[in-house]
């Protein structure tokens, strides 16, 4: 527990007085929410301090606040003390036109995961080298299927017996 507290201080020291004040500690997990403008700078400082890779990039949709939160989970492989912890570097962007500066230049492992966030949430990453849909077909990615307002076509408990009956409620492309 003492090491976790010291980690909070350490991350606060890494991020400086501005963003360091916004570090929130949850159980075994630190999260800091920064502005989209200073995201790349904060990531570079974390990288220089030993957080050398991104474990996951994800996003949360807040339709009521009209915001999308993009979170980078950074950890360490080389530093034994830092490798026990995960730091979430988050930023809040506008939901209608979400643009986040890409962190591929800082953490190379963020490249494919930013592509996933792009296709599932429609968040555009400024400066990404190859921003294409990764797992979904382009027609499906255009619908942004992990946003809260995406409606999945409800199916019955029983499978439709004929092909025509089944495909009448489905879009394929």
């Amino acid at each position: 527990m003492t090491s976790a507290v010291s980690l909070v201080d350490r991350v606060k020291g890494i991020l400086g007085p501005g963003e360091g004040a916004r570090v929130e500690q949850q159980k075994g997990y630190l999260e800091v929410t920064v502005d989209a403008g200073s995201l790349r700078d904060a990531a570079a400082r974390l990288k220089a301090a030993g957080f050398d890779h991104v474990k996951s990039v994800t996003a949360v949709d807040y339709p009521a606040k009209n915001q999308i939160k993009v979170i980078y989970h950074a950890s360490s492989m080389l530093d034994e003390e830092l490798s026990k912890y995960v730091v979430g570097l988050a930023t809040l962007v506008d939901r209608d036109d979400p643009v986040v500066p890409s962190l591929v230049g800082v953490w190379l492992s963020a490249e494919f995961q930013e592509r996933e966030v792009y296709e599932h949430f429609g968040v555009r990453f400024d400066g990404h080298p190859d921003l294409r849909p990764l797992l979904l077909t382009p027609g499906l990615a255009a619908q942004r299927p992990l946003r809260k307002d995406f409606k999945v076509v409800e199916e019955d408990d029983y499978l439709k017996s004929t092909f025509e009956e089944y495909t009448s409620t489905r879009r394929w492309v």
Binding site: L136, T137, L140, W172
Partner: protein
């Protein structure tokens, strides 16, 4: 003089038969309607003992290529392993769809994977069969009512379904035996060989809908039959 005898020979050979005259040209070359010959050959194939031999040979040479999309692939590995030795049914897992006649779909198929499944199936030579393994391949299973999956029976014609999550290796062995029974009793292989196409092919999604997102011309359809 010789030229006159040549034409005269051609006429005298024809005799009263106009059809032979059409077949036998002046330069001693046969001109045959290949479509007619293929139709006659298929007519010969459809009768006699040949269909039974074709079905028998196909039933004991089911070589599967497996489309391992999910956890059912572990059970496939066990099914052809030493404990549940499926090779005793004349079946051997192979690496390429171009040399196999059976495809086993192991688990759920996403919309993007459906294009690959269709292309792999079209690369296989006739007569070809398909086994859909696991409850994901039946109706979605764990991913039922999800936005990103298709059912394999909408992509290719499937012969045998194996329920289970995942099915036991014994169930896989049972499906091989069941497919053998279906081939030999219903004559799937020989009927396909004669007709060149299956009836249930019309019930699957068109390839433009599956692979249209690639934005390229894909024509890998096999030229058999």
């Amino acid at each position: 003089m010789t030229g006159e005898t040549g034409t005269g020979n051609g006429k005298s050979n024809a005799g009263g038969n106009g059809k032979a005259a059409r077949l036998f040209s002046r330069s001693n070359m046969y001109v045959v309607d290949m479509d007619e010959m293929v139709r006659r050959a298929k007519g010969i194939l459809a009768k006699g003992p040949i269909p039974a031999m074709v079905d028998w040979a196909n039933a004991f040479s089911l070589w599967p290529v497996h489309l391992m999309t999910s956890c059912c692939g572990c059970e496939i590995g066990a099914a052809w392993g030493p404990r549940f030795d499926n090779e005793r049914y004349g079946s051997l897992p192979w690496i390429s769809p171009r040399q196999t006649n059976l495809i086993i779909i192991e688990g759920t198929v996403t919309r993007k994977m459906a294009c690959s499944l269709r292309i792999a199936w079209e690369q296989m030579p006739y007569p070809k069969f398909a086994i859909a393994m696991g409850v994901c391949a039946l109706d979605g299973g764990l991913f039922y009512n999800s936005y990103n999956i298709v059912r394999p029976w909408q992509v290719i014609p499937v012969d045998v379904f194996i329920p289970g999550c995942p099915p036991r290796p014994e169930a896989v062995a049972r499906s091989i035996v069941e497919l053998q029974r279906k081939i030999r009793e219903e004559g799937v292989a020989s009927r396909w060989l004669v007709e060149g196409e299956r009836e249930d092919l019309r019930n699957i999604i068109p390839k433009e809908d599956l692979c249209g997102w690639r934005g390229e011309e894909i024509d890998l359809s096999s030229k058999f039959g």
